[in-house]
């Protein structure tokens, strides 16, 4: 009879056992804020479709101090999400070769973050111009 009795260790609580996994769970968790904000914008769109009263109601709700606090928290979470998203981006792409040299991971991450910053500024400028 075989004396083999391989021991399988449990996986429960795996993500709490390594700082790398804790950070992973945090950056995955911040995606919930991205989803939550998409729902806020969607609600705004629905209110816009419902007519002027509903739209003004939504605009009013957006001015509530708690909603402004929610916006600030969400902004921080989305910023962190973008940072971690672009940090892992080089690992998700085929090698980018420019002029016979492989583009470094730092360049790809930096390029992504620059694109986000530029798009955000552009959107901000556009809405600023539209609402003034």
């Amino acid at each position: 009879m075989s004396k083999r009795r391989p021991y399988v260790r449990p996986m429960a609580g795996w993500w709490r056992k390594n700082p790398f996994f804790i950070e992973y769970m945090i950056h995955e968790g911040t995606a919930l804020f991205v989803a939550a904000y998409a729902l806020v914008l969607l609600a705004g769109l629905v209110c816009l479709a419902l007519g002027e009263a509903a739209w003004n109601g939504w605009l009013g709700a957006m001015k509530h101090p708690l909603v402004i606090l929610f916006h600030l928290v969400t902004l921080a979470m989305i910023a962190y999400h973008s940072w971690t998203w672009f940090k892992i981006m080089p690992k998700t792409m085929p090698p980018v070769v420019i002029g016979g040299k492989r583009l470094s991971a730092a360049m790809i991450t930096g390029g992504g973050l620059a694109a986000v910053a530029l798009a955000s500024l552009l959107a901000l400028g556009l809405f600023w111009g539209m609402t003034r």
Binding site: P6, Y7, T92, M93
Partner: protein, 249 residues
């Protein structure tokens, strides 16, 4: 002057006696140039010959001595006591694999997966000896060279929570090797291997944790191989709608 010592706590498991693994502590003489593997060898030679672990080359190329050292997957030959001293060194069998005994894990699952990816060149048009060797340009070599450095040490599997949660997943190491052959200009079996890439147990189990690439002692970057193949597999899936029936691969 008393000799400097360091405490090594080893997760012991004897299937004939123990219900579950338990830690056992040893005091080992400390010197600046000692690796964790050397400390384990000291234990086996001088303190406790029943301690079981795998090792061979002592220079980070055989891939035998992977273990969890203070919670991280490491090659014990490449991890030095001086970087941990005066803390205790905690040594456990590689995570996510069944423990056979002490630090020895059951590798059968990985060996099976390695066979399934066909880790060898299958030429599209085999050349005869008279035709000479298969030629390759430096640019073609560059496409797969990094992924060919894998030494099958399994650190990436011990770093992959998705493999721990679902051992059906082909996993980072085997998928990196699969990519190594698919990306080789001399190989012609990419379509066969892509079936495994896109299968239930394939690349879509990966959630881009990325720890596999962090722990790889050979800088293979398995996360990159896996995620590149997500794009390729998804591309193939959508392209298959554009091709006539029976030819989609």
């Amino acid at each position: 002057m008393a000799e400097k010592t360091i405490t090594i706590k080893v997760l012991r498991y004897n299937p004939e006696q123990d219900q579950a693994p338990v830690f056992q502590a040893y005091q080992v003489p400390f010197s600046d140039d000692m690796s964790v593997l050397q400390a384990l060898l000291f234990i086996k030679d001088e303190l406790d010959e029943t301690l079981s672990f795998r090792w061979s080359c002592r220079m980070a190329i055989c891939g035998s001595c992977g273990m969890m050292i203070n919670g991280n997957p490491k090659l014990s030959c490449k991890t030095f006591l001086r970087d941990i001293y005066p803390e205790t060194v905690r040594v456990e069998a590689l995570n996510h694999f069944p423990i056979e005994r002490d630090l020895v894990v059951v590798m059968d699952d990985f060996i099976d997966k390695l066979e399934r990816i066909q880790p060898y060149i299958i030429p599209a048009a085999p050349r005869s000896l008279a035709q000479g060797e298969y030629l390759q340009t430096p640019a073609q070599l560059e496409k797969y060279e990094q992924f060919s450095s894998c030494i099958n040490c399994l650190l990436c599997y011990a770093a992959c929570p998705q493999y721990g949660l679902n051992p059906e997943f082909i996993g980072p190491g085997a998928l990196a090797l699969l990519h190594r052959y698919n990306a080789d200009s001399r190989d012609g079996a990419s379509a066969q291997r892509m079936e495994l890439v896109a299968a239930e147990e394939g690349v879509f189990n990966c959630t881009a944790v990325g720890y596999c690439s962090e722990v790889c002692p050979k800088h293979v970057d398995p996360a990159n191989a896996v995620n590149q193949n997500k794009t390729t597999a998804a591309g193939n899936y959508f392209m298959s709608f554009l091709k006539p029936r029976g030819t989609s691969k």
